[in-house]
Amino acid sequence: MNVLSFDPELCVGCHICEEVCSDTWFKTTDVERSRIRILDEGTGPLQAVFCVQCGECIDVCPTKALYRDRKGIVRLRKKLCVGCLSCVGFCPYGAMFYHPDYLEPFNCIVCGQCVKACPADALSIVEEATPAPTVTEQWETVVG
């Protein structure tokens, strides 16, 4: 499966990725609406926060709104989401985001727009093995 990859050595901290992401999905350039966040804590290299497609949130979602699509990407069925934000609180990477203007949370679904826009080539899409099935996915095979 494809996931986003970040090289802190190359990142120049321009935040263009955040603006492009926000513009792609919410038609506005607002970091708070980006599915990727570049953090500069002042010491050490810059860090990036984005969904690594681990799927832990799938088992936390009470409505089965979160699922892994055929390409392995963790996606949200908005129609099923009740906006409980469990996934936001439980993401081990802090990469499921909440914004008060929207009922549903959002994560990186590897669209690649930020990769194209990054002037320093710090972002790329790489191939990784799909993680083992979540409990939810295993349960589907039990009850059909």
Binding site: D59, V60, P62, G83, C84, G89, F90, T136
Partner: protein, 714 residues
């Protein structure tokens, strides 16, 4: 939504589903089963201001629905179900509770029960802040609230099963056409056991999307299921419009979301190292209670047992299916509603069926397990399953069966009197058969199903039992069976049970650790303050639609460093934010307590109106205070001897055990009376336990009919 279009409709009411405004729909659904009427009643500003919702609405409506001499089985008795203004928000764990209020067949006064499942929130999203049911049907009926189409019906229900797990399957098979239809439906049902006993409970369903099956939570205490079946209700069904993140239309959604995110994160980061609620739920308590000598064993005689590891949290963690979001409402990441899947029933009418057993919870394990000397997890599961589906409260069942077993071992009962059941401690087969007899309404089960208080009278009258002995060991107060904690060494918790409105249920106050372990309440004034604050605080959950568990079964890592760690100040602040965020009314932490005080005092006056609620009714059995028997004393002789020496200046070496028992008893009973004096004073009540006029005025509930009740006792 009539199933297959075939069920006879006795009454129909159509309505426009109103939007929820800041947590309220501002109307109540009133259903009268005697004359088949259905109407909408307004929610007044006074109701919202003074009684908030949930248990407050329930008590207010019940007060106006009944007479001074109304009994539980009179037609005017009501069952009121209401969630509360915050019920149905999805962002904060534990925000989907329903509160049920009725006059109890066990206590003859109002009982309130706080229950999970989806019914209350879906009722609200279908347009109703509360459902108020009065009257009695001639034949079995169901009430169907269709919030998708704005239609309420009373329908004949000959074809609807009585037992709850069957009702659950009936619901999803007959009332829902597609898988998605099941998501926003919920049913309330009781069972055949509720019909033949006074300890009936209600099951509230939610649809488990992964198991693709209905699950149930129980409104357990006080016999509400018995009232439900007495009204000849088989089931209440609600079908709501789809739930969204803003279905409760709060004034400030972001404020709620921020509080929710804080708690989700806290649970994610710390639950594993704290109580492991997500993995084992309330059974985590079993071993802790045993370690501190607080786990009821053999009808509360003892507080621990060598076999406890056979039924402790480790065992249940292995039996529960793991990794599923087992919340009983959306967004509860504390997720304690665990289940044992694929359990094969081994006795009774459903023998051989593979079922989901919801739970067991701590109270069930302690009640039907250790308290009855049963340390077999499969027996506990069998009893748990049948209690639920028969609509029987596991706590009352556990406590009353333990009482029966002690009476059996004391020679008050024998095989002849029990119809062949050898009800000794540890005999799981006999306990299970007793349960089946309750459901069939026959044999000794019918007698036991009347509850401890009525059994005591019966055993004295019919079997010549010693009245003092059965009074001492029969663990009930106000007619309600005790929940499952040994409180002999915690005076504050003796009050926590005895000085309750509804009877000895720990959801008002649980002070054992503060008092006994941490010694934070050394004086009567300290104890009284705790018995003011905590019952009020815990009452507040039930006004708003909250669960108590996310308040203190997870705590912030720095909680111990705060001024008052027992209150969990950071979480109290979360609730302040949420209440303000939902209703748009700015409140403080103190305001929350005042809201509860109002409802709590109103309930006390309600008890007085129904001829209870005075000091004499706050008496507790001596088993809850200290050792009743020689065996009990001698099992903890070192502890008790030390107390005689240090507290009373006596020399136990020179005393017989009987003398020591009597001396300790005299001391402890005096302590309890002093505690009552201190608590009543703190609560603003007279020495007889009556709220004073000043108290009623201060709280703004000095309504003429309330004052009239109180005046007779001032």
């Amino acid at each position: 939504m009539t199933a297959q279009g075939s069920r006879r409709v006795l009454a129909e009411f159509t309505y426009e589903v109103p939007p929820v405004e800041r947590g309220y729909t501002n109307q109540i659904l009133y259903v009268n089963l005697s004359n088949n009427t259905i109407t909408a009643k307004p929610v007044t500003e006074e109701m919202k201001e003074k009684f908030i919702g949930g248990r407050g609405f329930g008590l207010w409506l019940l007060w106006h629905g009944v007479k001074d001499d109304t009994k539980w089985n009179d037609p005017e008795n009501e069952i009121v179900i209401s969630s509360g203004p915050c019920g149905g928000i999805t962002q904060y764990p534990g925000s989907g509770k329903s509160l049920v209020v009725t006059i109890s067949p066990l206590t003859d006064i109002p009982i309130d029960s706080n229950v999970g499942g989806h019914f209350g929130p879906l009722l609200k999203f279908s347009g109703w802040d509360a459902l108020e049911i009065q009257g009695k049907a001639e034949k079995d009926v169901i009430v169907v609230i269709d919030g998708q189409n704005g239609r309420v019906t009373i329908e004949e229900a000959d074809d609807v099963p009585a037992d709850s797990h069957l009702v659950g399957h009936w619901l999803i098979n007959e009332m829902a056409e597609k898988e998605e239809d099941r998501y926003f439906m919920s049913v309330v049902a009781a069972g055949s056991g509720a019909e033949h006993t006074r300890i009936g409970c209600l099951n509230f369903s939610f649809y488990d999307r992964r198991r693709k099956a209905p699950r149930f939570k129980q409104a357990g205490r006080g016999g509400i299921g018995t009232v439900f079946r007495d009204k000849r209700i088989k089931a209440l069904v609600v079908k709501s419009p789809p739930v969204r993140g803003d279905s409760n239309h709060p004034a400030d959604p972001e404020r709620i979301a921020r509080a929710g995110l804080r708690l989700h994160k806290e649970i994610h980061d710390h639950d594993d190292e704290q109580n492991r609620m997500r993995k084992r739920g309330t059974p985590y308590l079993v071993q802790i209670m045993d370690d501190y000598d607080l786990l009821p064993v053999h009808n509360f005689k003892f507080g621990s047992h060598p076999d406890t590891p056979k039924i402790n949290g480790d065992v249940w963690e292995a039996r529960f299916s793991q990794g599923l979001p087992d919340g009983c409402w959306y967004g509860c990441t504390l997720a304690c509603s665990h289940a044992v899947d694929h359990y094969t029933v081994r006795t009774g009418p459903y023998k051989g069926q593979k079922v989901i057993v919801d739970g067991p919870e701590y109270e069930t394990i302690a009640g039907v397990g250790s308290n009855c000397g049963i340390f077999d997890p499969d027996a506990i599961l069998e009893i748990n399953f049948y209690c639920d589906t028969y609509g029987i409260d596991t706590i009352s069942f556990g406590t009353l069966t333990a009482f029966v077993m002690e009476c059996y071992e004391a020679g008050i009962l024998d095989k002849e009197k029990t119809g062949g059941l050898e009800l000794r401690f540890g005999n799981a087969d006999a306990a299970i058969e007793l349960l089946h007899q309750m459901a069939r309404g026959e044999g000794f089960g019918k007698i036991a199903g009347q509850g401890v208080r009525r059994m005591k009278e019966y055993f004295v009258k019919e079997f010549g039992a010693d009245p003092q002995f059965v009074q001492d060991i029969g663990m009930e107060a106000k007619g309600l069976e005790y929940s499952e904690y040994v409180c002999k060494e915690s005076l504050a918790q003796q009050g926590g049970y005895g000085l309750t409105n509804k009877g000895p249920q720990h959801d008002e106050a649980w002070l054992i650790f503060m008092d006994m372990v941490s010694n934070l309440l050394p004086t009567f004034e300290d104890k009284a303050e705790a018995l003011h604050y905590f019952p009020m605080w815990r009452t507040w959950f039930g006004l708003c639609g909250f669960c108590k568990l996310p308040w203190n079964d997870i705590v912030p890592p720095d909680n111990a460093m705060t001024d008052e760690p027992a209150k969990i100040p950071a979480h109290v602040q979360n609730y302040v934010e949420i209440f303000s965020g939902v209703t748009g009314k700015e409140v403080t932490a103190d305001d929350l307590i005042t809201m509860s005080e109002r409802v709590y005092n109103f309930q006390r006056v309600f008890n007085i109106r129904l001829s209870k609620g005075l000091r004499e009714h706050d008496a507790v059995p001596y088993r809850s205070m200290g050792p009743v028997t020689v065996e009990e004393y001698e099992s903890r002789a070192e502890r008790y001897d030390k107390q005689l020496r240090e507290l009373l200046g006596l020399d136990p070496e020179k005393m017989t055990t009987e003398e020591k028992l009597a001396a300790l008893r005299k001391y402890r009973e005096e302590q309890y009376e002093k505690l009552i004096d201190a608590v009543y004073a703190r609560r603003g009540w007279t020495k007889n336990g009556v709220p004073t006029l000043e108290t009623l005025k201060r709280l703004g509930i000095d309504y003429p009919d309330v004052v009239e009740v109180v005046k007779k006792h001032l």
